[in-house]
């Protein structure tokens, strides 16, 4: 009876075709295979984010009078609430880190080249959405640091030429960071961004399935492969377990601080700075003189960053070489420079 039921289910769900697909799918093996796992780790952390986020939603209320108190309630009164909140915050940060490593590994392995241009582009948009997740989520506990960092962040958005003023008002829901901003950021964080990210993630994964992983093999050379299931999946599982271990250790040993409740009428405390992944941009904007030629220095900075990001995003269209060709030294240099710049300026932004 049970066997018949299972057979019926397998027939209707098309398990045979899935089994056949898994039996034939292979993954290339080469010296840089390890970098493949960061895409999977990013996906794993996204799933953790969704699960812990749903648990937090059971208690969290997005109003200036209740946001801080409900987060405080979660971490002090709810059973394992501290762990859920801490895992949510740490996994958000680790997800940004993992997505960045994934992006640079794709860059240095030349995996963005044709025919994978759309995988790169969708990945870049996913990274941008991940940063937006961080930015919108940072405000939700409504604590002092988050409140003033959001002020700084939305001010930076206001520097965008032409649309800046509209963008700042759109993000804040008014002229200042208020309860309207909190409601808006909550909406972005739990509805708009997850929806967009899920759709784009499916698109990204579908394209990866269509074009497969880049093999790095020169043309004519045989491509070494391993079965996707179970060989690659088990390896990926080891990586996920490793990520879980790191995440659990960070969450338990360094529970994410709540700080003090935001007071919109208080003056900004000294040393306000955004989350670490915006530090390099923040510090660079601080270094630019107030006037560059006839333009505001910060506006010039934002324009330059915008152009640089657009240039980076369009790399598959600059580098039109075939997949097998070696990477141009100039591009390797640019990648190394971008990493060095991000690391050095983030460290300087943190310490100064």
């Amino acid at each position: 009876m049970l066997r018949r039921a299972l057979n019926w289910l397998a027939d209707r769900a098309g398990v045979d075709s899935i089994r056949s697909f898994l039996a034939h799918k292979t993954v290339p093996i080469h010296s840089a295979t390890i970098w493949y796992y960061f895409g999977g780790i990013t996906l794993f952390l996204f799933v953790i984010q969704v699960l812990t986020g749903m648990l937090l939603l059971l208690y969290y209320r997005p109003t200036p009078n209740e946001a801080f108190e409900t987060v405080q309630f979660i971490i002090t009164r709810v059973q394992f609430g501290w762990l859920v909140r801490s895992v949510h915050s740490w996994s958000g940060n680790l997800m940004v880190l993992s997505a960045m490593i994934h992006m640079f590994s794709v860059f240095f392995l030349r995996s963005y080249r044709q025919p994978r241009e759309l995988i790169w582009l969708s990945g870049m948009v996913l990274l941008f959405l991940t940063l937006m997740f961080g930015f919108s989520g940072y405000l939700l506990p409504w604590n002092t640091l988050a409140f003033f960092a959001t002020k700084v962040g939305t001010d930076m958005a206001g520097l965008v030429p032409v649309a800046g003023s509209f963008l700042r008002r759109f993000l804040r829901g008014g002229d200042e960071v208020t309860g309207a901003t909190l409601t808006r950021f909550f909406g972005f964080h739990v509805a708009v961004l997850p929806g967009l990210t899920t759709l784009l993630l499916l698109f990204h994964l579908a394209l990866v399935q269509k074009w497969g992983m880049s093999s790095r093999q020169r043309s004519g050379e045989p491509v070494s492969t391993m079965p996707f299931f179970p060989n690659f999946v088990l390896r990926e599982l080891i990586a996920w377990y490793g990520a879980l271990g790191v995440l659990g250790t960070l969450a338990a040993l360094f529970p994410w601080e709540l700080g003090t409740k935001a007071d919109p009428f208080a003056s900004a405390p000294a040393g306000i700075r955004p989350e670490w992944y915006f530090l390099a941009v923040f510090y660079t904007l601080k270094l630019i003189p107030s006037k560059v030629l006839f333009m505001d220095g910060e506006v010039v900075g934002i324009v330059v960053f915008g152009l640089a990001a657009a240039g980076w995003m369009l790399i598959p269209f600059w580098d039109r070489q075939p997949e097998e060709a070696e990477q141009h030294r100039l591009l390797t240099g640019v990648g190394a420079f971008v990493i060095a710049y991000l690391v050095v300026f983030s460290v300087l932004g943190y310490w100064r």
Binding site: I238, G248, L253
Partner: protein, 415 residues
Amino acid sequence: MKLRWMAPIFVMALGLPAQTAKNSCVECHAALEGDLARPAELFANDIHGKNGFSCVACHGGDPSSDDPEVAMSRGRGFLGKIDRRSVPARCARCHSDANLIHRFKPQQRVDQLAQYQTSVHGQRLAAGDVKVANCIDCHSVHDIREVSDPLSPVYPLRLPETCARCHADAAHMQGYRIPTDQFEKYRKSVHWEALAQRGDLSAPNCATCHGNHGAAPPGVASVAMVCGSCHVVFENLFVKSPHKKAFDNMGLAGCVVCHSNHDVEKPTLALVGVQPGAVCLNCHAKGDKGYEAAMQMRSRLEQLAASLGRSDDILKMAESSGMEVSEARLGLGTANESLVKAEVDLHSFDPAMVDGAVAKGLEVAQSSYRAGQKALEERDYRRKGLALSLVTIVVTMAGLWLAVRELDNRRKKSS
């Protein structure tokens, strides 16, 4: 009094029109050198000049004439340099005239001269001592600024130094038989710290206790009242305490007996009790009732302070481990307030009253301590849970790795 109604006309003639009219005093003095040029330079910043008054308002003369003989002729009312003894009266011609002064500052007092005449400065000046301070010694001359102007010598932050110009000058004060170390002592006090370091303009300076225009040293009987004008609660407790009567009988001034006057330092527990350095020992000896009370109060205050310290330490430890103890921290703040209350109640010199506040504080401090202990227990529980989870994760990873190797070997063999 008969001429009072003429005051506005008088002022119009002397000062106000000068804003637009010719002023040969400034024109000539600006062209001179040295001390004679200085008044013309300084007058640009003078509050009187800014309100339309000119030199002639104090010095007389005729500023419409370019001829020095005419402009500075006695016939035109020229007075020259004002004699020091005449300065207060000269200033008071306007500053004691409510009708005139209130046209410029409706809230301004007009009793400065009356007060000055009651002060030691005023009385000595009247007796012919021209070394004592008059209006211009404190407010400056020719560049007189509003008291609220930070550059004014009587701006709260600058006033102590202004008084010290004379009072800390041993040569100047020779013959007056008063100390000259007040300013030096004041700069060690909590009042100076509040004023100069924290920038609290309401903190006491010389004038707060001694008065400004009516400057006089407070007598023994009025010291508690001087201090009590700010420290109201302390004064109320003190006047009801057994010390009040005892001090009165002994001819001792109140607060300054224990806290000193100019060099009032931040009071600590070391002041209270029967150990060396405690001020109680200045009057009390072993065996008397006050000695026992001092010992008892000190012991209870120390007990609360130690309990607060212990609770603070454990909460800090919990916070540095990332534990959320803000509620306990809030409670500890309340317990700290109890310590402050007990220290205030100390001025009743009644051990039972001090004990009441101490008992409340101890209860809250102990509750905060227990919260800290609980947080550390929770931290240890989390760490044990983490260790167990990590062992499980590592074992699972190792198992998966073995499975992967097995699969790879099988694949190699089959290929």
